[in-house]
Point group: C2
Chain length 300, copies 2
Amino acid sequence: MKVTILGNNSALQAFGRHPTAQAVSVFNELLLIDCGEGTQGQLQRYGIKWRNLHHIFISHMHGDHYFGLPGIINSMSLLGRSAPLHLFAPAALQPIIEAILNVADTTLSYPLLFHPLPEGAAVLVDEPLFTVTCFPVMHRIHCHGFLIEKKSRGRKILPDKCADYCIPHEAFESLKEGADYHRPDGTLIKNEWVTDESPKPKRYAYCADTIYTESILEWISGVDLLYHESTYLEEDREKAALRYHTTALQAAQIAQLARVGQLLLGHFSSKYKDLEPFRVEASAFFPNVMISVEGNTYDV
Amino acid sequence: MKVTILGNNSALQAFGRHPTAQAVSVFNELLLIDCGEGTQGQLQRYGIKWRNLHHIFISHMHGDHYFGLPGIINSMSLLGRSAPLHLFAPAALQPIIEAILNVADTTLSYPLLFHPLPEGAAVLVDEPLFTVTCFPVMHRIHCHGFLIEKKSRGRKILPDKCADYCIPHEAFESLKEGADYHRPDGTLIKNEWVTDESPKPKRYAYCADTIYTESILEWISGVDLLYHESTYLEEDREKAALRYHTTALQAAQIAQLARVGQLLLGHFSSKYKDLEPFRVEASAFFPNVMISVEGNTYDV
């Protein structure tokens, strides 16, 4: 799983930084999380094709998280897309998109399937290889975080051991599911002799925009990578709280409490040109912190 | 009057070109005509401040002409604008903008005054120094062109002549209006001895998007600069007609019929990387043709 940052800034564009958007690549699928103005241009700039994009997730109805969406919806149609596109977003977005299409007399070349986000948490996507779950964060208006989890592919086959015990390929699926193998002659080959535990499936959590809240811990606990907003530094802690945003230090506290693998900071206020102080401030609390950079791809 | 191109491309962004937007500077006012996605970024890139922007004009409801508008409206508010902003646009835009503001729980810091465009032609803005008029063009959906005209500032005072005849400064305003001057001793100083004809006030016409139509000639006849769309080259004349667009050659024919000063081409299809063929094709019919380049400023 890989996360490419398309926009790491808050609402006001500054210092070449764009409003929020990111592309998550999981197996062969591309997921788009939030879609600030200019996202289609950023996808072009970083050479990200949307052929495998079938799911878009919009966290909330502040414009810096979705003003690039109508453009992408239109462009896909102009390019003759036929595959369905699933849009998971606050219910209020649907009539806006419909009005935009209607007044332009636009009939899309593909099915746009709108899935309104629930009030609370829910599994939104359950594919054979991964799931996407939404969960509530705390912002000025309803806002969701998203959790993307790879599914376990079962126990790991040890090919050399299987060869030693003359186990045919046809038996591999049941071995992955943990079953023992019974030879035609009745001999029992124990599962643990020929398989190993799979590494824990990777998990990525996205939290923007939100005030500091430990209510999200139940969803993000132990994820490999946590993207958490840090609009401000501690010097603006009060302003952050008033605007339902987080400071870099608070994001680090959440990362520490959730025992995540790595913390990726973003959604920076346009008042900051230099972002290094965010890293310094956060790393005092949590060592594995990274400042998101547009165009950079982060492995989960 | 100066026109800065912020976007010269049609709907699909390509080769670094953006969807339609342009900034027109007339005296101390900045006017924004159309506002494709990314316009606020383009204004930043080219160092154009929106302090003197009080009027925005949207030609029609295809997204490549207004998807950047919600972002600009929001950003102005985040920056604490207080001056009213007049938005001239198709009536259908108003409920969309209102919905976008409502669902975000946004109260703008300034009055946004919506003026729905009429079906036909009308004077939209009548300022002391200039006017803006809309007129119908022919596109797949209702679309307007815009005509920006400086007002005559009256006859041109010849300071040396006025000094020779000992005419006081207080008399200059009535001289500009064409009146003669009566000296206190009763002597008549004829207006034409101390003034000259003013140069004809400059006029700029904007036509995008439109099929080839001579119905616009009455509005654009004799303008100093005509911006006319040329989405395609003649090789795609049929496609142009089907999509209610114009070829470079057709735009040149309109420029010739309208006897304009200069022709500025734009709204290029994303299929063309090299735009020089547009200049070549158009200049066979009309010599004073320019290919619009983003960031370039064209004097009217």
